[in-house]
């Protein structure tokens, strides 16, 4: 029978095939085609950065506005896209499950990889652009940015798995998800730093792994003078538990999916 290594290679091939397929269906082959995968988040990030830089004060709580917006919007777009693409993902792509080697987990993994890669490349390009134009300083601690991003990617994957599996089982969730995503903006960490609010209320923000991730990313960009507040162990355990629940629900969701 097949060895474990062969099985991993098979799933790798399936995820790759799903990614290519997704790129074709979503962007087609017209004009710049695949590049829209990066172009879309770039326009969003750059657009918001330009608008905020021009209409708001150059510094907020001592932090430069452009860099602050970019470090918040990249994780936020990544999360929003991952979750948005996960809603009813099984129903939309159920036909692919016609092939036995394609599993629900592959469907989500391929979408998450695309969104994550797209927003990371877009974020890097916007950052370089802002640095070249003198609106942003190079990061103080690149390592901490990487750690924050790694945590955030794991969090996005966990959310995508959870939402995909739950939206398949409940139509109600599908309807309330956009409201939920909008209302959760304050606990995304994109617009505030924890140290800006009174000490008494900080714990509420710190419950959210996304806030912790943003604190790490901003701590990496601005250095200690931005007073980032985060805990590696807390974020790792909450993200880990979410990931496990998401995985378990997704692996068990095959039975609920009706393939036409």
């Amino acid at each position: 029978m097949q060895s474990l290594r062969q099985l991993f290679m098979l799933q790798g091939r399936v995820i790759w095939a799903l990614m290519m397929r997704e790129l074709h269906t979503r962007y087609g082959r017209e004009n710049i085609g695949y590049l829209w995968m990066v172009g879309e988040p770039i326009m969003f990030c750059a657009g918001v950065a330009i608008v905020w830089t021009s209409i708001r004060a150059p510094y907020e709580h001592g932090l430069p506005m452009t860099a602050f917006v970019i470090t918040g919007y990249v994780p936020l777009t990544m999360w929003r896209h991952c979750v948005g693409r996960a809603v009813k993902a099984f129903e939309a792509n159920g036909g692919l499950l016609f092939h036995r080697q394609v599993t629900p987990l592959d469907l989500i993994a391929s979408r998450v990889v695309l969104e994550v890669v797209g927003s990371l490349i877009a974020g890097a390009l916007v950052m370089f652009g802002a640095m070249l134009l003198g609106f942003m300083d190079p990061p103080q601690d690149l390592g901490l940015i990487y750690v924050g991003l790694a945590y955030h990617i794991a969090f996005c994957l966990a959310c995508a798995l959870l939402i995909a599996a739950l939206s398949e089982r409940s139509d109600l969730l599908e309807k309330v998800i956009s409201v939920f995503m909008y209302l959760s903006l304050p606990i995304s960490g994109a617009f505030t730093m924890v140290s800006w609010i009174p000490e008494h209320y900080r714990w509420i923000l710190l419950l959210s792994p996304s806030v912790q991730d943003c604190e790490m990313i901003r701590g990496g960009e601005f250095g200690p003078q931005s007073h980032p507040i985060f805990s590696y162990t807390y974020t790792a355990s909450v993200t880990g538990v979410l990931l496990l629940i998401g995985l378990s629900l997704t692996l068990r969701s095959r039975r609920f999916i009706v393939v036409n």
């Binding site: 095939a17 290519m20 269906t25 036909g95 016609f98 036409n260």
Partner: protein, 215 residues
């Protein structure tokens, strides 16, 4: 060998559940060609979809010791919005096939010409069947699951299907669902009837046909 052990399938209906398959058990040997008969809605397609792994049984188990194709039927297997070529690429990627070789085979067999570059949703049912069939036999499965699809084509297509499947690949197993009794008695070496959600294995094909027609 493919072994079905106590396959049961219930569907939720307006009130309660309807049992489509009730404790279906049988073995399909290597090289066996099993025809499945039954009236419309008897559960033939459901059974073939369960064996192909597209649907999960409510209870029971399938053991597959042969590589098994997806259920070759009218729907499924394709993404309508993608072109035939993109669908072909996807299948090459997930089954680890050489693209150019497979493309050449599909071009030759399906005879779709330039239409292969158009979205599959614009195909006629005959064209779709040709593409589906070409792609399925491009992959050398040990067992093919075929749900009616050969019968939609013209006589040339039916002849080529028979040639590729029953002559060149005579050593493979096949489960064939059809309402065409002549076709079943021509190509199958065994047959079974699904009636009242039970699966009756018959000793010979004519016996199965007689049983089916009494129903």
């Amino acid at each position: 060998m493919i072994r079905c052990i106590d396959i049961t399938k219930d569907y939720a209906i307006h009130r309660g559940r309807r049992r489509v398959l009730d404790h279906v058990s049988f073995d399909l040997e290597r090289g066996q060609k099993l025809g499945v008969l039954g009236r419309n809605g008897a559960g033939k397609s459901t059974l073939i979809r369960i064996i192909g792994g597209v649907e999960m049984p409510t209870a029971g188990e399938i053991q597959r010791n042969m590589t098994t194709s997806w259920p070759l039927a009218f729907g499924g297997a394709f993404q309508g919005s993608l072109s035939g070529i993109d669908n072909l690429r996807f299948i090459c990627r997930i089954y680890d096939l050489d693209y150019l070789e497979t493309r050449a085979f599909v071009d030759d067999f399906a005879e779709l010409g330039r239409q292969l570059g158009e979205p599959v949703k614009t195909y006629s049912s005959g064209m779709r069947a040709r593409l589906a069939f070409a792609l399925t036999i491009a992959i050398e499965f040990e067992c093919y699951l075929i749900d009616e699809v050969i019968m939609v084509g013209d006589s040339r297509f039916t002849r080529r299907c028979k040639e590729e499947l029953f002559e060149k690949r005579a050593d493979r197993s096949i489960i064939l669902v059809s309402h065409d009794m002549n076709f079943i008695s021509e190509v199958c070496d065994s047959a079974a009837v699904i009636s009242n959600s039970h699966f009756h294995v018959c000793d010979t094909v004519p016996e199965a046909i007689a049983f089916h027609e009494r129903n």
